[in-house]
Amino acid sequence: MRYAFIKAGPSRSFSDDDAFFRNRSDPAGAEIDIYTGARFKADPTKAAILIELQDECLGEHVDDQAPQNANVLGFARYRNGRDEPSNLVEIVRHSGTKIAAVQAVRELFSAAGLEVVVCSDHVGRIINRLVIPKYNAALRFLDEGLASQADMDLTCKLGLGYPDGPIERVVRGGLANHYSTSKALFEAFGLPSFAPPRRATAAFRRDEM
């Protein structure tokens, strides 16, 4: 399937030297258009139109009630802050997205060797919705003296088989990045578990100074 990128700024999912970006085709003959940063234009003749999302929901880009948007989906390759992107692409379908468009996008990413999951249109999609409260709790526990950072990370690795501990992960991805994602989820859900934790807020403010 031929796909084109309509890019206005850097993509967090596919850098310019990523093979998937390099294998793009010309917009004229593409069956799928991928918007990264650029303002999207409806085109019902395409098999699918993809909009790269950051922390926002797809509804901020498209009206899901409009029939011409039935082939539009959001996507993001999951990435922990400044870590390299993972192999996972979260695809976001809105309430009016047609199955055929979901299928086309699934095939597109699977053919590129990426793993695909489909979710409905919520801020934080699947992973951030689940891990941000956990990382926030770990950072709070650290402040409260529950255990040392090393012991908390080791506990998760040895006790749960995680490849890395929650705190080393957040620190590696950047505490300031963690702040921004937490803040977006906190604004969307209003739940204390998403509120940016002290350490992340402090790191963000330090960076601003």
């Binding site: 999951v117 979710c119 699947i126 689940l130 709790a137 012991d151 080791l154 040895l158 006790g159």
Partner: protein
């Protein structure tokens, strides 16, 4: 002076955790007294432990002479008095504060003044359990992971009154057994369950909110984060009824909304969907095969 530990007692040694903990102690060369109030479960556990050791021999991880030595070092009893000579007694009886407190009171009467008592509780407070003993300074938290005979991690927690000497001796004992101790405060769920129980609940709430199908939630977590198991598959393994019990233990103490039982979980348990053990939870199982993921 640091207490020298030679003989170890395990209370609830017929249970899932107790049997594994007894193996850890015996394998490290300690005379091990396996105590349980139920003789039948004690016998069953002994057979399973021998089976486990036999497998280790088959796999070349243990030699047969060592196996025989381990088996010989484990004695079984249904009488509390059998623990009289133990330097360290680890309790892994039912997760019930009054049962654990009562047991410690009984151990006071049977064991030497300088014996160390350890609790394998997952959710209860070490300080509250220790209040069942007249020697709370000799009580320490020692939380093994399931299966204890394979998992290296132990969360070690001092209660408010635990003496440094006792904590140090218990810590050293875990290292002698080849385990990896980590230190945590005496707080609900220590580190592991404090992070895991609410996280698993969040995954259930995501299913309930229609964020994604269970299989997609698990795949996202496995591929995106490199976890060996997705949260919903893990809950199926733990048992949905056990997850409810964990929520019921944590929520009233922490009042953390994430620890409250998700309504979907309650409904699934009511419908008899308990996970692997009932053949269906978030996924369907036939034998050991999983469907739906």
């Amino acid at each position: 002076m640091t207490k020298i530990i030679k003989t170890v007692g395990v209370c609830g040694a017929g249970g899932t955790m107790g049997a594994g903990i007894a193996l850890v102690a015996a394998r490290a060369g300690f005379a091990t007294v396996c105590f349980d109030r139920s003789g039948d479960t004690l016998e069953k556990a002994a057979k399973q432990s021998i089976g486990f050791l036999d497998k280790s021999v088959e796999r070349g991880k243990l030699d047969a002479t060592k196996r025989d030595g381990i088996v010989a070092s484990m004695v079984r009893t249904t009488k509390l008095e059998g623990l009289a000579d133990c330097d360290l007694v680890i309790e892994a009886v039912f997760e019930d504060l009054s049962i654990k407190r009562e047991l410690l009171g009984q151990l006071d009467a049977v064991c030497a003044e300088d014996a160390i008592f350890a609790s394998n509780t997952s959710t209860l407070s070490i300080t509250e359990i220790a209040s069942g003993s007249k020697r709370p300074e000799r009580v320490v938290g020692m939380h093994f992971c399931l299966p204890a005979q394979l998992m290296k991690l132990i969360e070690m927690s001092p209660g408010i009154l635990t003496s440094e000497e006792v904590f140090g001796a218990a810590w050293q004992w875990t290292e002698t057994c080849g385990q990896t101790p980590v230190k945590t405060q005496d707080k609900p769920g220590f580190i592991l369950n404090a992070l895991l129980v609410p996280f698993n609940n969040d995954a259930i709430r995501a299913v309930e909110a229609g964020v994604a199908e269970p299989a997609d939630i698990d795949r996202a977590i496995k591929v995106g984060l490199g976890y060996k198991m997705g949260p919903l598959e893990l809950i199926d393994l733990i048992g949905l009824d056990t997850q409810v019990r964990l929520c019921e233990a944590f929520y009233p103490i922490t009042l953390d909304p994430r620890a409250a039982t998700p309504p979907l979980l309650r409904r699934m348990v009511a419908a008899g969907l308990l996970g692997r053990k009932s053949g269906r939870g978030f996924f369907a199982y036939e034998g050991n095969t999983m469907f739906g993921a």
